[in-house]
């Protein structure tokens, strides 16, 4: 995706520009909501796709939503918010809001009750940090803990396709930064009308590895928590 910037407005615009990569996860209702929800539920509960701590990542979605993040990027060992900040200081208030929101525990929707049992407490013990993000050098709120595994490191796109089928669309996204180093180029495999995106990165140690899975926070959260979020 290419976004225009206007000369002197570049510095201001760059933050909008940087926010777009993860905002891509915003779903559009091109397919029926019921069908989308069932697809999301199926993918989220697919055995072999996720790591042992993925339920805790799902449990954190309402907090991300209240903190205003439209999407989160799930990496094998951490969760990264979509909102880019220019400094660690400016990210701090978002991190505080995120931590406070973790204390609010909505009940899970029926299909996810068993899966999320005890996970809200688990996510409360997670470590929330502000880290500089390789993609665009911005500062992001992240959640992780020791030995966290949200999906298996080494998971490949081929394995994903064997588990949940072919994506609805595959697109490429260049994530520009203010610097002129090689940009991160993501190959986005879109599922459930974009509510869930499996992304490869050209910076990955091997071609074909899943680098991150991008979840549309409002859409996926609605499926997992229903109206109680």
């Amino acid at each position: 995706m290419i976004v225009h910037f206007k000369g002197n407005c570049f510095v201001k615009m760059i933050w909008i520009w940087l926010a777009l990569p993860l905002a891509l996860g915003l779903a559009t209702p091109a397919i029926g909501q019921g069908k989308q929800a069932s697809m999301i539920a199926k993918i989220l509960t697919t055995p072999g796709l996720w790591g042992k701590d993925f339920p805790a990542a799902l449990a954190s979605l309402p907090a991300w939503k209240r903190a205003g993040d439209p999407s989160v990027a799930i990496f094998p060992d951490r969760i990264v918010g979509a909102t880019p900040f220019k400094t660690t200081e400016s990210a701090q208030s978002a991190r505080t809001a995120m931590i406070q929101a973790l204390n609010q525990r909505p009940p899970a929707a029926e299909p996810f009750v068993e899966l999320l049992k005890g996970q809200t407490e688990r996510i409360l013990q997670a470590q929330s940090e502000i880290l500089q993000f390789l993609d665009d050098d911005s500062y992001r709120v992240t959640v992780t803990w020791a030995d966290a595994q949200f999906f298996p490191a080494g998971l490949t796109v081929k394995q994903v396709e064997s588990l949940i089928g072919q994506p609805e669309a595959v697109t490429t996204q260049v994530i520009q930064s203010e610097r002129d180093r090689r940009p991160v180029i993501l190959t986005l495999h879109r599922y459930a009308d974009g509510a869930l995106i499996v992304a490869e990165s050209d910076w990955a140690p091997k071609p074909g590895l899943v680098d991150r899975i991008i979840l549309n926070v409002p859409t996926v959260s609605a499926v997992v928590f229903g109206g109680g979020q």
Binding site: V174, D180, P205
Partner: protein, 590 residues
């Protein structure tokens, strides 16, 4: 797949038909022979990677050995990033994994540039995540894992190494980069006396503005030059299909170091603008192309390159300027006084937007410029990789299209980046060697690949062999006396002439003597030079009485006259003889 062709009118039609799927040739240049090879194959690139932002270097010890880096595989804890290598002048390529992860947790390559030293050892400047740069040096065999040096620097590290044997800066390694740790990003040059084991940072550029596009070139006299740009605010002009500004005001300045990189103030604190005091408008965009008609490219630090004539030290800068045509154009500025003053010439035709210039000078004084323009007059945007060449110091130019490409159907061509910020061009001997990220040739899946090209000057060189006799002789070889030879060389043409000269010693007793390597020289129109006995003795590193031939080779017709004098017991001239030396033609393979 390898395609060879001569870019002349006789071959144009049939060859163009032959390569129609991959290449479109236009604007043939007389006597220019080009070979184009897709560096990657289905076997060496099974994942169909984009292989962008390539860099090329030719081994000075053996020009058949060529190395290229591009964004191919990455390094990791148990994986090394590759170097593409050819051992046969670029005809075929292999992929050698030899760039290990420089530090735990580092991802990369993020930016890279490749070079050889005078002995043919390989070096690569690499940017890893962090961001930190590393110089990789060859400490083992040519294909063994390279050894990373100390962490230094930041964005877009470049690289060059002084190769002048006997020079005061031999083996000095220079790596320009951009320091983003300041309010105004600052051009910086790190130098090393131990090939990157340790690096010393020296701020260059102009702190009053954000800097960008820092490139380096080294002269055979030990002087080092960098060109950089100052970003001075946006200019209200758009590329086709774009709504915002895609240009900014800038100066392209050259700075010089006369002390092996310790200081860079030889041309003043911030250097000399190559285009005068007024700023130019240059590209700063992620929209190079027409986004309503296909994919577009990033062009932000893709607007300047620098090279030095290896013989006379003249400095050349290729840069982008949106001029009165309304199009971003490629200009070449030349300085004959070590960067103090400059004269610019436009080399593009004023009817298409162009950018990404790389420039190199070969030993014959020919200037080569690799650049990209686009034609959006049809339904899709066509990007064209050009090779422009001037054999007359920029007075006239030929221009050939190496490849025309529509990246739209290429799955691994990412709009907003495409080939990267720059490509690769260098010269060795009389040849130009280049690499660009273009459309694959002969691959199962059409894609972006690194495309190597070699341009050979196929004009037949002329040779002049001039007998010389120098020094005091003793019988029985020659009559007693002191002999002198003065060789006068005049360029009668209206264009500059490049020549190279070597000394072939002749020994008595029917023995062959030593032959020196070539020494270069340049003559502007109507200029003349003289080669005397002291010059011959110096080049041949001999003393006393010597005889043999001075051999001149050139692509231009010259007036060559030898003047022979001898003195006897009086010490006054007793004989004088003038000989106009005839030329002979050499085949290009001689």
């Amino acid at each position: 797949m390898r395609i060879s062709f001569r870019l002349d009118r006789r071959f144009r039609t049939s060859r163009a038909q032959f390569v129609a799927a991959a290449l479109i040739l236009a604007g043939p240049a007389e006597g220019l022979g080009a070979t184009i090879v897709d560096v990657a194959t289905d076997a060496t690139d099974p994942s169909n990677l984009a292989d962008t932002e390539p860099s090329i270097a030719v081994n000075p010890v053996d020009p058949m050995k060529i190395a290229i880096v591009s964004f191919s595989e990455t390094w990791g804890p148990s994986a090394m990033a590759p170097v593409w290598k050819s051992d046969n002048g670029g005809a075929s390529w292999r992929k050698v994994p030899q760039i290990p992860q420089p530090a735990p947790g580092s991802s990369g390559p993020g930016d890279q540039k490749i070079a050889f030293d005078a002995t043919g050892k390989l070096y690569i400047a690499e940017l890893g995540s962090g961001p930190r740069d590393f110089i990789y040096r060859q400490t083992g065999g040519p294909d063994d894992p390279l050894t990373p040096g100390v962490a230094y620097g930041d964005d877009q590290p470049h690289l060059d190494i002084d190769k002048t044997t006997g020079g005061s800066c031999l083996n000095r390694l220079y790596s320009p980069w951009l320091n983003f740790g300041l309010a105004n990003p600052r051009s910086t040059v790190s130098d090393s006396t131990n090939f990157g084991v340790g690096m010393t940072d020296v701020a260059v550029g102009n702190p009053a503005f954000p800097n960008r596009t820092t490139r380096i070139a080294l002269s055979s006299d030990g002087k080092a030059y960098v060109v950089y740009k100052t970003r001075e605010g946006s200019a209200p002009f758009s590329l086709p299909g774009s709504a915002g500004s895609d240009f900014e005001n800038a100066h392209f300045n050259v700075m010089r170091s006369d002390d092996c990189g310790v200081t860079w103030s030889a041309l003043g604190a911030t250097g000399v603008s190559v285009h005068g005091s007024a700023p130019v408008q240059t590209l700063f965009t992620n929209n190079f192309g027409n986004q309503t008609k296909g994919k577009v490219a990033r062009a932000r630090s893709s607007d300047a390159w620098i090279a030095v004539d290896p013989v006379n030290g003249h400095v050349f800068v290729a840069y982008v300027s949106r001029d009165t045509t309304g199009f971003s154009q490629i200009y070449v500025a030349r300085s004959i006084d070590q960067g103090a003053s400059w004269t610019s010439t436009r080399i593009t035709n004023g009817i298409h937007h162009a950018g990404y210039p790389n420039i190199a000078i070969n030993e014959d004084g020919a200037i080569g410029v690799l650049y990209i323009d686009f034609d959006d007059s049809g339904s899709t945007t066509l990007f064209r990789h050009h090779f422009a060449r001037s054999i007359y110091y920029g007075a006239t130019w030929s221009d050939d299209i190496l490849q025309t490409m529509d990246p739209g159907p290429l799955a691994n061509a990412a709009s907003g980046f495409l080939w990267g910020d720059y490509e690769g061009l260098t010269a060795a001997g009389s040849n130009f060697y280049g690499v660009f990220t273009g459309q694959s040739i002969g691959r199962s899946v059409a894609q972006l690949d690194p495309i190597f090209f070699k341009v050979v000057d196929e004009r037949s060189p002329l040779q002049y062999a001039i007998k010389f006799v120098c020094g005091k002789s003793e019988p029985p070889v020659l009559a007693p006396g002191e002999y002198f030879t003065a060789i006068n060389v005049h360029n009668p043409a209206r264009q500059p002439a490049a020549l190279k000269k070597k000394i072939a010693m002749a020994l008595p007793g029917e023995k062959a003597g030593a032959v020196t390597h070539f020494f270069g020289a340049r003559l502007d129109p109507d200029e003349a030079l003289e080669i005397d006995c002291p010059d011959i003795l110096k080049h041949a590193s001999v003393k006393g009485f010597v005889k043999g031939f001075v051999v001149l080779e050139t692509l231009s017709q010259l007036d060559v006259v030898a003047v022979y004098t001898a003195t006897g017991e009086t010490g006054r001239v007793e004989t004088l003889f003038l000989e106009r030396v005839p030329q002979r033609g050499l085949r290009t393979d001689q």
